[in-house]
Symmetry: C2
Subunit: 217 residues, 2 copies
DNA sequence: CGTAATGTTGACAAGGGTCAAGCTTAGTGG
DNA sequence: CCACTAAGCTTGACCCTTGTCAACATTACG
């Protein structure tokens, strides 16, 4: 597993281009460099100059904002193949951190004219995702939110019922607008009902996807 | 007031181009037609072909989604000058309705290559707005949400402390992820504390903007 | 002027948050 | 290799914010 090799790296550092087989997002169009991050490491911070586009090669990334008192809202998780890091201005409006040992391909930001065509589809998709998320957080209860989250994870992991949850319960809570405790309680209830089986806290088998679908309507 | 003239129209219909002085969003680049809508009228529905971009000339628009059981999440309000209606695919993912008598300029959707450069900035801005909204709904309480909403309205109405709320309490609730009753109670509390003065339910004076800023941090 | 839609307020209930204790797991160092 | 520790997770008890239900007030409109 690539993540194992990566976890031994003490600092993010450039790799050669042929380490990983992730298909490039901008095939043949943009120069890039690869970089590894350990769990919890910052990829960029709010206010940093937005000078690159990023693609996840392996691992997972959380994108978030903070309120003055420390409350955190995770607006997105990114997994293998996902592209992120484009911004409205020339500065980042968010923080990005590696959730676990993570490889990132950084594409030098193309000039404005080319950039538009390249990333508009990605930006529009991100917009739809953000608005879906808004519906979930604004109008669904804890059970519905967690069910939708598990189904989303499943779909993004090739639809396989065995899923990994690389993020902590705190991450899930901050993504769904819930507390750690509520996330934990809902997952326990799903487990008791037999909808999900947890081998470990971060490895689950979705036993009855349809039960979850029925919950989030 | 243009809205008065518009409110007499019985059906949406094309206007000549020189009725309103709103600066076009795509000056000289795209052909357009103008159209009027009455309060509550649908501009487009989920699933409709996304064949145009829209700009508000006067009035206000709500963009929303529905859950199967009728719960509604308003993802955005659009006011004079705002551009909306771009989508990830070739179909609309949302409903758009006029909140009050509203004039809309519909630009024929440009070909893909031109489209990208035109609307990328608008799309990125919408993304930031959606993600801001996510933080508010996911991590702020009722007082903070309503305070942030009032300040947002104020800023978008030229920063003047006299603001209009064209939308109903139900709209505000569905935008902020609250019920009508909670919105009403919070507004009453703000009124009692002297932060806001309501001349009518939909006309307010923000007496102490800083008090509201302090509330939403 | 009368009616329906919209908004306000109150009483009560419940979903989810807070605080606290205990359990599991992974990582570390002897 | 095992024991210790810290971080992460789970569970329980309690409480608070917000939702629900209902009555009433106000406004807009025909």
């Amino acid at each position: 597993m690539l993540a194992q090799a990566a976890s031994q790296l003490s600092h993010p550092h450039a790799l050669t281009h042929d380490v990983v087989a992730t298909p490039p997002a901008f095939e043949g169009t943009l120069p890039y460099t690869d970089c590894c991050y350990r769990a919890g490491e910052e990829i960029y911070a709010l206010g940093d100059r937005a000078s690159a586009l990023y693609q996840v090669e392996f691992g997972a990334v959380r994108i978030f904002r903070l309120l003055a008192d420390g409350r955190r809202q995770i607006s997105a998780f990114h997994f293998v193949g996902d592209v992120f890091g484009f911004e409205a201005g020339d500065r980042h409006n968010f923080f990005a951190e590696a959730i676990c040992a993570t490889g990132i391909r950084a594409y030098r930001r193309p000039v404005e004219s080319e950039l538009a065509r390249e990333i508009l589809p990605v930006a529009l998709e991100a917009l739809v995702r953000a608005q879906d998320h808004l519906l979930i957080i604004g109008r669904q209860n804890a059970d519905e939110r967690v069910a939708a989250f598990l189904l989303d994870l499943m779909e993004r992991q090739d639809g396989l019922t065995r899923i990994e949850l690389p993020m902590s319960r705190a991450d899930i809570g901050d993504y769904l607008g819930l507390t750690i405790e509520t996330v934990s309680r809902v997952l326990s209830r799903f487990r008791q009902k037999g909808h999900v089986h947890f081998e470990r806290a971060r490895n689950a088998e979705i036993v009855h996807p349809d039960a979850l679908r029925a919950i989030c309507e």
